[in-house]
Amino acid sequence: MIYYSGWLYLVAISLIVSILAFFWGVKTGQFSDQDRARYFALGQDLLSEPVETASRRKQRVHNGALLGIIMLGLIVLATALALSIHRQ
């Protein structure tokens, strides 16, 4: 166990930093008025920018490409799982 103490210190430091930040957040009211915080990314500058939507064809092509990537990822993952279980 002592052999790994260096690594444990590191995890402990990380957790301590997180806990300190959390208590600071509670103390300074960072978790209050969450509904107002939802709007922080939006700014006045957006009002002067035009709202443009892609054509339906463009949307179909792009959605199709992204869906294809998701399918590819899921298929290879299923293949790896099947092979792993088969070769157990």
């Binding site: 052999y3 790994y4 260096g6 690594w7 590191l10 995890v11 430091i13 990380s14 957790l15 930093v17 997180s18 930040a21 959390f22 300074t28 009211g29 960072q30 978790f31 209050s32 008025d33 969450q34 509904d35 107002r36 915080a37 939802r38 709007y39 922080f40 990314a41 939006l42 700014g43 500058d45 957006l46 709202v51 443009e52 939507t53 892609a54 463009k58 949307q59 792009h62 959605n63 490409a65 992204l66 294809g68 990537i69 998701i70 590819l72 990822g73 899921l74 290879v76 993952l77 293949t79 790896a80 799982l81 092979l83 792993s84 279980i85 070769r87 157990q88």
Partner: protein, 464 residues
Amino acid sequence: MQLLKVEENGTAKLFFLSSAFWFVLGTLEGIIDATDMVIPDLFGGIPWLVFSRVRPMHTTTMIFGFVGSALLGASIYIIPAVSRTPLWNERVGKVSLWIWNISIAVGLITLDLGYSQGREYAEWIWPADIGILLAFGLIFLNCIQTAVRRNEKVMYVSSWYILAGLVYTWIIYFFGNAVWNPSKGAIYGLPDGILAWFYGHGVVGLFLTPLAVAISYYIVPRVARSPLYSHTLSLVGFWSILVIYTHIGTHHILQTPVPTWLKVLAISGSIAMIIPVMTVLVNLWLTMRGRLGLFHQDIGGKFVMAGLVWYILTCIQGPVQALPIVQRMTHLNNWVIAHSHMGVFGFSGTIALGGLYYILPRITGRPIYSTRLADVQYWLLLLGMAGFFGVLTAGGLVQGNSWLNGETVYRTLPMIHVYFSLRAAFGVLFVGAAFIGLYNVIRSIAGEPRQREIQTEKATGQTQ
């Protein structure tokens, strides 16, 4: 002094320019490596082109130079924007920018000369490490001082992610590179392996991920013209990633004599990562729902959307491949290379480019030089990444299955040669996209948008 000239958002702008430059270099290094795998004798043993030197140059250029620079540039823009206050000190920002770039250059040049500390993603020599730590320190100082001077009581979730990402990256970089041991940059034995992977995994999870998520939380509501679905949910995700992510790196070394409790901790933590990931994805999806047309039209939004798709896959694949039963098939082969490219480039890199293309026009006050070129770059990268991922994953499964059949490593090499060739072919798309990106960014910063495109847009607008 011109190099440290104070101008509004000048630091963010130059970080974006740096990113575009390092992207070109990083992909060129990558294509050299990919070619080396197909034709090992091509470079005839030229020392500065050998795989063992160029490979760490490629990974560190892409992580710190390309993706890191763009994420930092976007972060330095976003913190003031959501805090409703200017950046604390542009001059400090410029100093951090130059230290950052010089450190990367020192790290890469010395690697090419054969000076390496030999630990993955931590190969740079000590002076470069110190420079990187100094740059992170200055960037954190600038961001925290800006956040302290914010004109909103509550900090937006992007600020939380950026500040935490900078603190954690400093910690993991310091320990992961063992900077108290300048000659080696390492400790000893198995604890060094654990430390190295605490760092190796942390670079993705505690540097690239928080900053990429911060950018998404900024850009998605803006492109959707809609408030974030739930700020509370975003904070749940933030705190859970902090608690879970720090100790899961050991899933990279499950085959070593690491104590079982540590392996269990790493695997269970990896699976638990589904919680913070789902909070991000569900929250952003519910924010953009019904408004996808806006994302398809906005080049920055489009990159971010694609990055989030890669994020879904990375974070479904990650927990599953942390399972020992799956690792028997996927570990130490090209499956992992596909996964790491998906995480660093597909997810973080694509979102970093989204940040660049969304923010740069708002800094310069004019549209990017050519949205068409950016669109070409987008499709080259999407196609390249999908092909790259598919090919390497398939090659990895062939390797894993053959090894389980008892084949030796060298007998599997002919089997995966075709996958290596295809990998190099897809790599060419990345190189082309990087050059297009650099050209577009330089012209966007330097001059006016392309006249022909403006005329086309005007004509389209008149006909609508």
